[in-house]
């Protein structure tokens, strides 16, 4: 394992402390229990948005704390859900009286810990669960689909509504709409290495890719020989379009997300391939996002998310945002 690391026990604390110093104009870091919160107190009457999850997906979620997005984020250990006391402390710290909306990715550990945190928090609160990964089947017999990159879009869009005086109920409703309108699928070329493990999470050949990989290096649909980008992108989009079934005149946001180890050069190439394929199918791409937003440590690979946008979603996507990882309009 080659990583910038001093010792494993301090890995997260040191990284989080550095994150706090680097972005001290936007956020504060609280340790024990650890959470990231806005430097400026949430204004009275604004619904507070809190997300969180295992670390290793940076900049998600701490990088999305700030004006127009989250009020707080609770980082767990690498790839492990955060603990209820973190959510409780974060909620107590940021709630300005309008209630707290927890944004939770659909994994058993995250759901259980957020549920317990919500039970321990005495103020008004509600939750939305993201599950945009079309790689795994959704049936009544499973935990359901995984929550992955579209969580970033949910946080941005609902964050804007909360900033524009949306109520807790309205924020939840919009979040659920964005989640339902989004589909994601990812591909990995290499594994990631959890620092505590010290070795790669899975073995993969030099000429192989994991199609439909999860953001923790979980297996996806199948292991295949690597193919030209256009073929890979075409197969990903086919799975997403099968699921989302966008109308021809509908507007869409195309989000190409890096898993951490793939350079932007390649991500933009993926974006170009995706644009061409969508165009050939008569699907309109109106908005774009390209970069490393929902990562899996140093994994090489990318995911593609398509979000069907109505006017409400477009308006809140364009609204100003100022966080460590996403900034426009201010």
């Amino acid at each position: 394992m080659k990583k910038f690391i001093n010792n494993n026990d301090d890995f997260l604390k040191e990284s989080l402390t550095g994150f706090g110093k680097a972005h001290s104009d936007i956020i504060n870091i609280n340790l024990d229990p650890s959470f990231v919160s806005r430097k400026n107190k949430t204004k009275d009457g604004k619904v507070s948005l809190i997300s969180g999850g295992g670390s290793g997906h940076e900049p998600m979620h701490g990088g999305f704390v700030g004006h127009g997005m989250l009020d707080a984020a609770c980082p767990g250990f690498v790839f492990s859900a955060p603990t209820p006391d973190q959510m409780q402390a974060a909620a107590e710290h940021v709630d300005s009286g309008a209630g707290v909306l927890f944004i939770v990715k659909n994994y058993s550990g995250d759901i259980m810990n957020f549920e317990m945190g919500a039970e321990m928090y005495s103020g008004k609160n509600d939750s939305i669960i993201t599950n945009d990964d079309v790689a795994v089947e959704d049936s009544t017999f499973t935990t359901g689909r995984r929550g992955v990159a579209a969580t970033v879009l949910v946080e941005k869009i609902v964050g804007s509504l909360a900033e524009h005086s949306g109520s807790l109920e309205e924020c939840k409703k919009l979040g659920e709409k964005v989640n339902k309108n989004a589909g994601t699928m990812g591909v990995a070329f290499t594994s990631c290495t959890v620092p505590a493990a010290g070795k790669p999470t899975f073995d993969i050949g030099d000429d192989e890719m994991e199609f439909g990989v999860g953001i923790h290096g979980e297996p996806g649909r199948k292991r295949e020989k690597i193919q030209p980008s256009k073929t890979i992108v075409g197969n990903i989009l086919e799975a997403i379009l099968d699921n989302l079934k966008p109308e021809k005149n509908e507007k869409n946001l195309l989000f190409v997300n890096g898993m951490g180890g793939t350079p932007l050069t390649e991500l933009y190439l993926v974006y170009e391939d995706a644009c061409q394929i969508l165009q050939s199918k008569g699907i309109e791409v109106t908005k774009s996002l390209v970069g490393n937003y929902c990562t899996s440590l140093e994994m090489q690979g990318a995911s593609i998310t398509l979000l069907k946008c109505d006017d409400e979603i477009l308006k809140h996507w364009d609204a100003p945002v100022h966080t460590a990882a996403m900034r426009w309009g201010m």
Binding site: S80, A81, D85, M116, R145
Partner: protein
């Protein structure tokens, strides 16, 4: 009759069991890690090891406390120090045990069984998982049922030997299951052929504690 000198659920019993379990889990850590990497994301063993370390380190803080308080401290430590599904589930287990009535009196074998049964019931409610879904509940729920039968028997050693056997059988039975809960559920058919890591760690914990009570 059950001999009085055997401690079934005292603070010192909890501490010594945590130490024995820690040793056994450490010895089997590579196996559990590999199982989790096959069908999960590899964090289970680190969470269990971190939790055990935190509980063992609580020794000085809890050794002179009443049982209910000690269980509560263990619960909060597990809940806030582990994370993931394991932290929520085992935290719920200890928190529920801490809420048992009459903990200020001596805890006999029947009472200890009752506490464990109520703890496992709360874990089932928290995780919303039942038998047959390829999780730790595949081991814990049948064990809880067996304890429920046992608690009225005076010959607990035979009973605990059966518990050990049931835990092992049920752990092995997860190998051919499709997962419908937890991280492995996303895999569909690909999860088949691998023992669930949570079922394995739970079985090791049960095995260690039962053997230590039997041999005491």
């Amino acid at each position: 009759m059950i001999k009085k000198e055997i401690e079934f659920m005292s603070v010192s019993f909890l501490i010594s069991q945590a130490k024995s379990v820690q040793k056994v889990i450490d010895e089997n850590s590579a196996e559990i890690e590999i199982l989790d990497q096959k069908i999960g994301d590899g964090d289970h063993i680190f969470n269990i090891q971190r939790g055990l370390k935190l509980v063992v380190e609580l020794e000085d803080a809890i050794k002179d406390l009443p049982l209910a308080k000690a269980l509560n401290m263990i619960a909060m430590k597990v809940l806030s120090g582990i994370g993931g599904s394991s932290g929520a589930l085992f935290g719920t287990f200890f928190m529920t045990m801490a809420k048992s009535s009459d903990l200020d009196k001596d805890v006999d074998f029947n009472k200890a069984c009752e506490m464990i049964i109520s703890g496992i019931k709360a874990m089932k409610e928290r995780g919303k998982a039942d038998v047959g879904e390829k999780t730790m509940m595949d081991v814990l729920l049948p064990v809880s049922e067996k304890l429920n039968e046992l608690k009225n028997e005076s010959e607990f050693k035979t009973g605990l030997n059966e518990v050990i056997k049931i835990a092992e059988e049920r752990m092995l039975s997860t190998k051919d299951m499709l997962a419908t809960k937890g991280r492995a559920s996303f895999l569909g058919e690909r999860a088949k052929g691998h023992i669930d890591p949570g079922a394995r760690s739970s079985q090791l914990i049960i095995d260690t504690i039962c053997k230590s009570v039997i041999n005491n």
